[in-house]
Symmetry: C2
Subunit: 164 residues, 2 copies
């Protein structure tokens, strides 16, 4: 598989932080960048992609920042990945079976999709379905017991100080 956009890791971690914000609060992109030691321009590019895809919302002004655009139970890992990498298929069939000297001139011989295409798309459907089956709420719930208490408290304090 081609490497995913390297913003996926940052986008996913930031989305999880936003999932923990109190209702209506936002957090500036700059503070999310500092939290993960990322360059602000790098992260803002990915936050803008999340916003364009309807995963996050941006509020402007001196008290502006980012929040999730909907309930974390309604945002899947696939939503985040596709916001960064686009929703298109990984395998693109250009119907090469219909090219060249031995191809049939009868279009009806190509009514059924090429089996290579079918199986390539079946495989990526499994990937997509797996990521679609995990919401940010699932991730937040399952990750919580894996994080040590000190880090959890430090993160909560950081978010609390940064939120608007």
């Amino acid at each position: 598989m081609r490497r995913l956009g390297d913003g996926v890791e940052a986008a996913m971690h930031c989305a999880l932080v936003l999932a923990g914000l109190p209702d209506g609060a936002v957090i500036p992109g700059r503070d999310l960048a500092v939290l993960y030691d990322l360059s602000e321009s790098y992260l803002l590019k990915h936050l803008r992609a999340l916003t364009a895809a309807g995963v996050t919302e941006a509020t402007s002004g001196p008290r502006g920042g980012y929040r999730l655009a909907r309930d974390p139970a309604n945002i899947t890992m696939l939503d985040v990945v596709e916001a960064i990498d686009g929703p298109g298929p990984a395998f693109v069939c250009r119907e090469i079976r219909q090219c060249g000297p031995v191809a049939s001139k009868e279009p009806c011989n190509y009514k059924k999709n090429c089996l290579i295409r079918v199986r390539m798309l079946q495989a990526e459907k499994l990937w997509r379905d797996s990521l679609r089956g995990q919401t940010l709420a699932d991730l937040a719930r399952d990750a919580a017991p894996m994080i040590d208490e000190t880090t959890k408290r430090a993160l909560a304090a950081y978010v609390d100080a940064a939120k608007r």
Copy 2:
């Protein structure tokens, strides 16, 4: 998912053609390119990648050409895809959870993999396993009844004339 290399479609179709060659026979790259109306240099690049990955073998000289390096029942769709696109993971975790001001200084707090990484890799494992579960022999067997008799005969005649 990022778009796969656009050589995957050509590589897969050519590998299926090679799967139908009689034992020991080869077919020149040029004839494979003409068969699918592809530029010869474009296809040769991908045939060389298949050879480098051990999927095909090249014989040289005026009667040289390409054949599969092993039985089509032992070559999976994943082998072909990874020959073109590389075998690396799609999701690369750079451990950003360990970066920044709130990260724990205790390495033992990071002994378990980050849950985001775990679930991203679970998803791509499904993709990989699906393609690993289909061999060229499976594809050839299942595709045969989907191709009309005239095209099948034209393809057999083309391959027969081109093979060495």
